[in-house]
């Protein structure tokens, strides 16, 4: 029996098996301890070169990855490009070829286009970690959310988790939906229909149009950030109105039949999708998510890095068969 492995790249949770997801979560556990040490560094990725390629502004994710890389002793280079002056596609192909020519080992990429991570992964030998591609997936965020939920419950299997807010434009939502479904959770989404993807029920999730119903149903709420530009694009009338109709407030939570665990991938718009008293309240695990983020990313880097390409290839084939 081949031990579970992730293969060459981490592109999304949709293509992972439950076993692979559990492998990442289990592997993250020992890495939590490394970050608690006085000397927060292990030599595991010594000599590995990792490029953090960010075509979109990001502070948290990039910093979290950087901490994870440095704590594993990897050498890192950060490349940021807004992609505004150059045509994105040309840059991506050329960047891929240039990176390959510099003999790097791994690329962590964020890109505004869905599918961009897969595009890159198919064109370079280095490992590719998707740090968010368009509105498609943000797998490390999904995994750290899963880890945080698992930390607080005995098991994810059978839990009721509702993802609230702008599902339409959210890669975090998609990664969460796949991960939660694969680990056996019941999943719902809640938001105005104008911010829900067409046919989302087809993925096997429930839909709530009222936040009160979502709160009554759920064990866990994962509250997404409402991108402020959605208002100017006409998806919702105003932030004030959004808070009034969809905001997760203390009053609404207190009316719930049970205590809920509150997650938010950050950064928060306090007083828009989430009330400050909820964010800072006893059921919020928002800061644990941040802590877990580093451990999950260390686990991913550890699981993907190195190894003989032939073995990694064989493992990838097995993965594919396993995923059928």
């Amino acid at each position: 029996m081949t031990p579970p492995s992730l293969g060459k790249d981490l592109l999304g949770l949709e293509k992972l098996t439950a076993e692979q997801i559990r492998l990442v979560l289990d592997t993250a556990e020992p890495f939590k301890e490394v970050s608690e040490r006085a000397i927060k560094k292990v030599p595991t990725l010594r000599g590995k070169t990792i490029v953090n390629l960010f075509f979109e502004a990001s502070t948290r994710t990039r910093i979290s990855f950087e901490f994870a890389q440095k704590r594993l002793s990897a050498d890192t280079v950060n490349i940021s490009s807004t992609g505004s002056s150059v045509q994105k596609g040309e840059t991506l192909v050329d960047t891929a070829r240039n990176l390959e020519a510099m003999r790097i080992d791994m690329v962590v990429m964020r890109h505004p286009s869905s599918g961009a991570a897969k595009f890159l992964a198919e064109r370079i030998r280095s490992n590719v970690i998707n740090a968010g591609d368009g509105q498609h997936e943000h797998p490390t965020q999904g995994l750290l959310d899963l880890l945080t939920i698992r930390d607080n419950f005995d098991a994810i299997d059978g839990l009721k988790v509702c993802i609230c807010g702008d599902i339409l434009h959210s890669r975090v939502a998609r990664s969460n939906i796949w991960g939660l479904l694969k680990l056996g959770a019941e999943v719902a989404v809640c938001g105005p229909q104008s911010l829900l993807p067409r046919g989302i029920e087809g993925l096997g999730v429930q839909v709530f149009h009222r936040i009160e119903q979502a709160i009554e149903w759920s064990d866990v709420l994962n509250i997404l950030r409402l991108q402020l530009e959605r208002m100017s694009a006409g998806y919702i009338p105003s932030l004030r109105e959004y808070y009034r109709v969809f905001g997760v407030t203390m009053e609404r939570l207190e009316a719930a039949p049970k205590d809920l665990l509150i997650l938010h991938p950050g950064p928060m718009n306090r007083g828009v999708e989430i009330d400050s008293r909820v964010a800072d309240g006893p059921h919020s695990v928002i800061l644990s998510q941040v802590t877990n983020g580093v451990a999950v990313r260390m686990a991913i880097l550890y699981l993907l890095a190195g190894g003989e390409p032939a073995l990694a290839e064989a493992a990838k084939r097995t993965n594919r068969e396993g995923a059928e």
């Binding site: 029996m1 031990p3 890495f31 699981l303 190894g307």
Partner: protein, 212 residues
Amino acid sequence: MRVCIARRSISQRHGVSALTDVAAASNFRGDMGSMHTRTLLDSAAIAKALERISREIVELAGGTEHLALVGIQRRGVELAERVAKLISQREGADVPRGAMDITLYRDDLQTVGPRPIVGETRIPFDIDGLCVVIVDDVLYTGRTVRAALDQLADFGRPCRIGLAVLVDRGERELPIQADIIGESVNAPGKRVDVLVSEVDGRDAVELVEASE
């Protein structure tokens, strides 16, 4: 074949049991059935050896006041627990215990295939100024101990680090020697399996060789 066995010395201790590890090593190609096993130490002999080891550890540390034990995952952790219990019964002192998984410090991570599972590392005390005795089941190439020493250095600066092993089977690849040894075994080309009841259901040290 022989070289292959030696190279797997570190990973061997990370399997659920030594036997499954052999099954995973495809180089053995199905001659599983013709394995020949001989018991080197039985349960009573292991108990006796641990008793002696526990005395020598206290001797080495000049008492229990500054002594701490750190077992190496997996079976070293169980052995350290037993040694601590023996010391506690005899000396009445509760010796601090820690556990270390050395996977992240391995020197062969780049060449192995799928990533090994990382076990727990837990050292819930400050090691500065202590006499830390590393406890492991088998001393072989010395690479695990090298990794353990590096890892321990990241936790602090003990005044002394010792090494106690149940079995020393020689064939070192690094200049590392144990301070305290339960049993020395000369077994080139063979495998030495340490089984502990907490993990394997019984206590034994066995010599395994492939018969012709």
